[in-house]
């Protein structure tokens, strides 16, 4: 037992030599992005490739992408708690941290996209006046609730592990962990468990609403082809589950490798997560087909033009690369893995899930950009500038950086069985 706890605390107690250059590398990318953003702040959004026709670009793509990634975390851990599936317990916290980090990034992406970030306090000042009408306010509400609930949930489950950790470390670390658990009592577990149970009951519907309201930001605009669909909510949720679980597979596989947690993570965890990801990818491909057939066969002019641009026009290379390499190939491998009894290849699964996650980023790009650049001549062609590209890399380096730092602070698994 005690050996196991030691093993689980290894990331906190020891840091390998490779960790620092890795952090430095990520920090450099982030600093470049911060520089790019200061440039955007001082000169205006004109430094991006956006214009009066293609109004939204990479920042909004990032926003939808990170909201999607955030779905896996609490979903897994709430499911673990509600359905008492002990198999997935070891990855629950890894997934929860992913949720918090990616929700933060989603919020950041929206702020980066604002023309006047200095006035964003008006979102709070005018909140009650605008709540009944603006889908953006609905989304802020949903995301805010989700972030509050999930961080509370994470903190409550962490308290006990902070206590155990504080008993096993010395010096400033001990003080730090004791500082994190004010008024800790040994008898609080049963209360905390009860609170966590009801929190997970609450979080699951909130989670569904979060991505539905993200979809409604777009799906309630009657004039925008391929955004204005009734099934936007389910469509986005399916993508969120596929990409979210995919990223959990990737992160868990990396953790397993670098911290030598081969016996902690049952390979069946990877198989189970990949199976759900595979199934949702299949549903997603089906939904995409349904959407495109509708737009191509009977579509009004605008729908037809966007769909044509997707499949045969200027976005076709992205679309087909994304669909074949990013969706169909991973799907086929994961299908093969699902139906071969006892077969799990964690490394290949991780690679395939990486492809899947990247594909879903490009899918979000396909949602935003073609719809906003139809039927126009030179004026609306959108090419991201170096500012946007550096901020894009930065918004991927920063969450990895945050995650890497958090693995050095938070115990990544429940240290003791109840």
């Amino acid at each position: 037992m005690s050996d196991k706890v030691e093993k689980l605390l290894r990331p906190i107690k020891y840091t390998s030599r490779e960790f620092y250059p890795f952090i430095l590398f990520l920090a450099t990318i982030t600093i470049v992005a911060v520089y790019a953003y200061t440039r955007q702040l001082s000169r205006g959004l004109g430094v991006t490739g956006l214009n009066d026709i293609t109004i939204w670009g990479i920042y909004i793509v990032n926003f939808i992408f990170f909201i999607g990634i955030s779905h896996a975390g609490i979903a897994i851990s709430a499911a673990v708690r509600l359905f008492k599936s002990d198999l997935y317990k070891p990855i629950a916290r890894i997934a929860e941290i992913l949720t918090i980090v990616s929700l933060t990034m989603a919020g950041l992406s929206i702020v980066i996209d604002l023309g006047r970030p200095d006035r964003s306090y008006l979102l709070i000042v005018n909140y009650l006046l605008r709540f009944k009408e603006s889908p953006l306010i609905w989304d802020i509400t949903a995301v805010g609730t989700y972030l509050t609930l999930s961080s509370t949930y994470l903190y409550l489950s962490l308290r006990r592990d902070f206590k155990i950790t504080s008993e096993r470390v010395n010096g400033w670390q001990k003080k730090f962990y004791e500082f994190l658990i004010p008024s800790y009592e040994d008898e609080e577990h049963s209360t905390v468990d009860r609170i966590s149970f009801w929190l997970s009951v609450t979080i699951l519907p909130v989670m569904v609403m979060v991505h539905t309201t993200v979809a409604w930001i777009f799906a309630l605009l009657g004039s925008r082809p391929l955004w204005f669909t009734a099934f936007a909510g389910p469509y986005y949720i399916v993508a969120a589950i596929a990409s979210g679980l995919g990223s959990v597979v990737v992160i868990a596989a990396i953790m397993r490798k670098i911290y030598h947690w081969e016996e902690v993570f049952d390979p069946m965890i990877f198989k189970g997560l990949s199976n759900v990801s595979m199934l949702t990818t299949l549903i997603y491909i089906y939904m995409m087909l349904a959407e495109q057939i509708g737009a191509l066969y009977a579509g009004p002019e605008a729908e037809f033009l966007v769909s044509y641009e997707w499949l045969f026009g200027s976005f076709s290379s992205i679309f087909w690369a994304m669909t074949t390499l990013g969706l169909i190939v991973p799907f086929l491998f994961l299908l093969y893995q699902a139906f071969k009894p006892g077969y799990v290849n964690i490394n290949v699964s991780a690679v395939m899930c990486t492809l899947l996650v990247i594909a879903f980023w490009f899918k979000r790009y396909m949602i935003i950009v073609p719809t906003l650049s139809i039927g126009i001549q030179e004026v609306g062609i959108y090419t991201p500038t170096w500012v946007e590209i550096s901020i894009l890399f930065g918004t991927f380096a920063l969450p990895i950086l945050l995650y890497a730092i958090l693995t050095k602070i938070l115990p990544l698994m429940e240290l003791e069985e109840h």
């Binding site: 000042v125 002019e301 033009l305």
Partner: protein
Amino acid sequence: MSKMNRRDFLKSIGVAGIFVAFNQAISGYKKVGSNFLKKVVGTTYKPPVQGASFAMAIDVGACIGCRRCEYGCILENNIPEAPSNMHWIDLFEMTNETPVTSVENMPPVNGVIDYVDSPKEDHWYLSFNCFHCDNPPCTPVCPTGATYKDEDGLVLINYDICIGCRYCMTACPYNARRFNWWQPEHSPSRISPIDGSVVPLNEEVPLRVRGVTEKCTFCVHRVRDGLQPRCVEVCPTRARHFGDLNDPNSEVSLIVKNERTIRIRENLGTQPHLFYFTRGVKWNDEGEKL
């Protein structure tokens, strides 16, 4: 339900009290919020004309594509010409084969915005500015209430509380809205491309800052004083007509009543206040009035 002890009773009183207090707090907050805004806001418009519903009607047959309206608008409304080439009025050169009803995309697929000579044979000219819809899709989506529909039918923007999320721009089916991608630059005296005169900055129109949305206001500072919008005034062929739809004797009311008018993308239910009609072509190929 045998008995309710004192503690439960106090609890329920407490819950009810919190509920009432919360509601009170919210209503108080609402008042404080709007007062606070009034103080912060510097963009002020003249009070709306009671009972009016302003609208515009454009005779596409009379329009010769000279774009005087576009330049007149730029000068009147302090639209920065640098660093971005912004204009509130878009004028599209369409081929004769394109019916108005096929304009399903904004800007129109078959329209050309950068043309030199006009009028051209077998072409007609389609002018867009903000449609000031009765049921505007752009105002409800605004997260701060910066854009709103006023009582006299004008859709306006409060430049001081716009946060630049550009949600209204994606919601607008007519691409009527413009964004200040850069810091707008104004020279104090501008030379009019219409008659070469020097035009100072208009003091009645607030200047915009970087990162906010703007669009046609139907020249709110003029029409609320009973004047015509600048684009209507400068049109050499009288293709543009402006008036109050609620006044049965106004020019626009008479046109809507007597002519066959259409509105763009009516299927969206926006009920735009920009009517298109034609009384036939009014110029020859040399651009001379018939």
